[in-house]
């Protein structure tokens, strides 16, 4: 500081002269200095503001693209769902309605049987023997009214025979009615049969209707997604985020399962593969164990694909049912093989652990204590079961994996948009702060040259 003094022995005077000189200089350079500061402010703050605006426009574009991708992917997913449902309807028709002609024939036969029985049941009133005509003829004979005894006797005989005939006819009619009642009672099981068949028809039609109802529901969803309204986009976005979070949780748990699985087989693998070499710092035996665990996940993916639970590979989805079935059997067989290998390795692991403990004890000079065989068996069984079950559980990871892949695209893009947006806001704020600072600097500048400015104003007012 002292080097700036004009007269080092008089610092106060030196500073006063410096201040006055600078004040005069800054007063005279006021206009160009103001312009320079304004340019600087425009350059920095304006640049930052423009950057913020550009970032916002980029974000808008990204949001649009993200929406488009979300809609397109959901349209594709809905189309796929509908196609799958149609396939199910086809299968349902084939399965449930294939037997319909036979069922129909059965109902027809039953109805024909009923019809025949009904015809047979038709009640015909038996006619009385032809006595009436005989009586009428006798009555018309001349002299019947005079009380001819022969005719009277004849009529009595006729009356007797008519009564007997009536009795016989009644008895015949009763017999026929009993027979018809029997036929009618035999119709009951046929009715039940028809009712059962009709119920069956009803159930099958309901199943077909249910599938059709699902298609209708999917079609509604599809329509909504196609329209691409804000509501549907919000719904799809929330659905994707939810799926992402759930799949992350499930995959994390599966990751721990894979770690346990790896730990279970890594040690015994060193007995099977040459462990004298390392790749990227890992034992070959460890890598082998990792490969087994990874293979289980891969086979699980194929299993789920073959079962049409997931749809990661379109080629598999396009396979015929027979080929798909073959793939399914191959995946199950592969998993069973790996699970069996793991169970065997788990048993070997327990054996190695026991030997290690025994060796350490022997080296320490301790007398080997009698280990309970029962508890040792339980550990072996437990480890073998774990070794057999874990691969099947790991195979299930294909489902959350597909969910994660599907939802991550949208969620990560959303996250990126948020980060860029935040950067944009920060740049905007920084631009605003810098602009304010530059304005303040101009005001401070004006305040510093207040004395010459006031003198100028005084002269101006006088003139």
């Amino acid at each position: 500081m002292s080097s700036l003094y004009i007269w080092p022995q008089m610092p106060f005077l030196s500073i006063t002269v410096l201040v006055v000189a600078s004040m005069i200089f800054l007063y005279l350079a006021r206009t160009p200095m103001h312009l320079a500061l304004e340019s600087l402010s425009d350059g920095i703050a304006g640049g930052l503001e423009r950057t913020a605006v550009w970032i916002k426009s980029v974000v808008v574009k990204m949001q649009e693209k993200n929406k488009k991708v979300l809609l397109e992917s959901n349209i594709a997913a809905s189309e796929q769902k509908i196609a799958q449902e149609f396939k199910r309807v086809e299968a349902s028709y084939t399965k449930h309605l294939a037997e319909y002609p036979a069922l129909h024939l059965k109902i027809d036969e039953s109805i024909t049987a009923i019809d025949a029985d009904f015809q047979e049941c038709g009640q015909v009133v038996p006619e009385a023997p032809g006595w009436n005509d005989a009586v009428e003829s006798i009555a018309s004979i001349k002299g019947t009214a005079s009380g001819d005894r022969v005719i009277e006797k004849m009529l009595k005989e006729l009356h007797k025979s008519a009564v007997e005939g009536e009795k016989m006819a009644l008895s015949e009619m009763q017999k026929a009615s009993t027979k018809r009642h029997k036929i009618l009672s035999s119709l009951a099981p046929v009715w039940k049969k028809i009712q059962k068949a009709m119920n069956e028809v009803n159930t099958r039609v309901e199943l077909v209707l249910e599938t059709s109802g699902k298609i209708e529901k999917y079609m509604d969803e599809y329509e909504k997604v196609r329209k691409g309204g804000d509501d549907s986009i919000d719904m799809l976005s929330s659905k994707a985020t939810k799926l992402f979070i759930f799949s992350i949780i499930v995959i994390t748990v599966a990751g721990f399962g894979a770690f346990v699985n790896f730990q279970l087989i890594a040690l015994p693998m060193s007995e099977l593969v040459p462990a004298g070499t390392r790749v990227l710092g890992l034992h070959v035996s460890d890598i082998s164990a990792l490969v087994i665990v990874t293979l289980e996940v891969v086979l699980g993916i194929f299993l789920m694909e073959a079962l049409a639970v997931t749809n990661i590979f379109p080629q598999i989805a396009g396979l015929t049912l027979n080929k798909r079935r073959m793939l399914l059997y191959a995946a199950i067989l592969g998993l069973f093989f790996l699970a069996s290998v793991e169970a065997a390795l788990a048993v070997l692991r327990e054996h190695i652990a026991v030997t290690n403990a025994a060796t350490t004890q022997a080296l320490a000079g301790k007398v080997e204590t009698a280990v309970s065989t029962e508890s040792s068996q339980i550990t072996v069984i437990g480890q073998a079961t774990l070794g057999f079950v874990l691969p099947w559980i790991l195979a299930m990871v294909a489902v959350p994996l597909e969910m994660l892949i599907e939802s991550s695209q949208h969620v990560l893009s959303k996250l990126l948009i948020l980060i860029i947006l935040l950067i944009g806001y920060l740049i905007g704020i920084l631009g605003h702060i810098l602009s304010t600072i530059m304005k303040t600097v101009v005001h401070i500048y004006d305040a510093y040259i207040i004395i010459p400015t006031q003198i100028e104003n005084l002269f101006k007012s006088k003139s």
Binding site: A275, G276, R278, V279, T359, L363, G365
Partner: protein, 224 residues
């Protein structure tokens, strides 16, 4: 360039990258050398010393590790002083068998009557150092079972190279106090201090003289 050539080049690059990632196990192995003093007053410590090796060092070895036992006598820089060598197989079952066999060998050594008039610690350390270096193991440890009082025979010269103990961790184990040490502890302390200074001057990675035998597994694990 045709597609097949491009593919071939890509496969070649990937294979080379994989090969570069491959390495042998040596840098991950641990080589341990135990120096057993059989001279003078320390000779009676032989059995307890063998017990420490059996119960502390041998169980701490993992497949791939190696152990060498060298005795300290009047002229230790001699191949005959190597009393046992152990290089563990990578198969755990085989490694366990080797450990048991080596422990039996140590028992035979403990029961054998041996003695020496002089104590050539430096010679044993030099022999041990050259063997540890030849293993190229990533971790090299030297355990010295001795009272650390060196008495060289007339005419025996011992001077270390500057890098004699490079990358080697040295621990003086079961250092018993001599009569003169009891009379004046400073004698013992200065003797140990002198050794520390000497080995560190010749590039030893670390020096330890207060290690409890039960802490051996932790000591080895910490240096792996």
């Amino acid at each position: 360039m045709t597609i097949s050539k491009k593919l071939f080049n890509a496969v070649l690059v990937a294979t080379l990258a994989f090969m570069a990632g491959c390495s042998d196990n040596k840098q991950y192995e641990t080589a341990i050398c135990a120096l057993a003093d059989i001279s003078g007053t320390y000779a009676k410590e032989k059995k307890s010393m063998v017990k420490i090796i059996q119960a502390g060092i041998v169980p701490s070895l993992v497949p791939g590790d190696s152990l060498i036992l060298i005795t300290i006598d009047s002229n230790s820089f001699n191949e005959e002083n190597i009393k046992g060598k152990l290089k563990l197989d990578y198969r755990p079952s085989q490694a366990n068998k080797q450990k048991i066999k080596f422990a039996e060998k140590l028992d035979v050594f403990a029961n054998k009557k041996t003695s020496a008039k002089f104590t050539d610690i430096s010679g044993a350390m030099m022999l041990c150092s050259s063997h540890l270096k030849s293993t190229q193991a990533g971790t090299q440890i030297m355990f010295i079972f001795s009272d650390m009082k060196e008495e060289l025979k007339k005419g025996v010269k011992r001077s270390f190279n500057n890098d004699e103990f490079e990358n080697i961790n040295i621990a003086a184990m079961n250092v018993i106090k001599l009569n003169e040490d009891s009379t004046d502890p400073q004698v013992f302390r200065s003797r140990i201090k002198k050794w520390k200074k000497r080995v560190l001057k010749h590039s030893a990675k670390s020096w330890d003289s207060t290690l409890d035998p039960t802490e051996i597994p932790n000591y080895i694990d910490a240096r792996r």
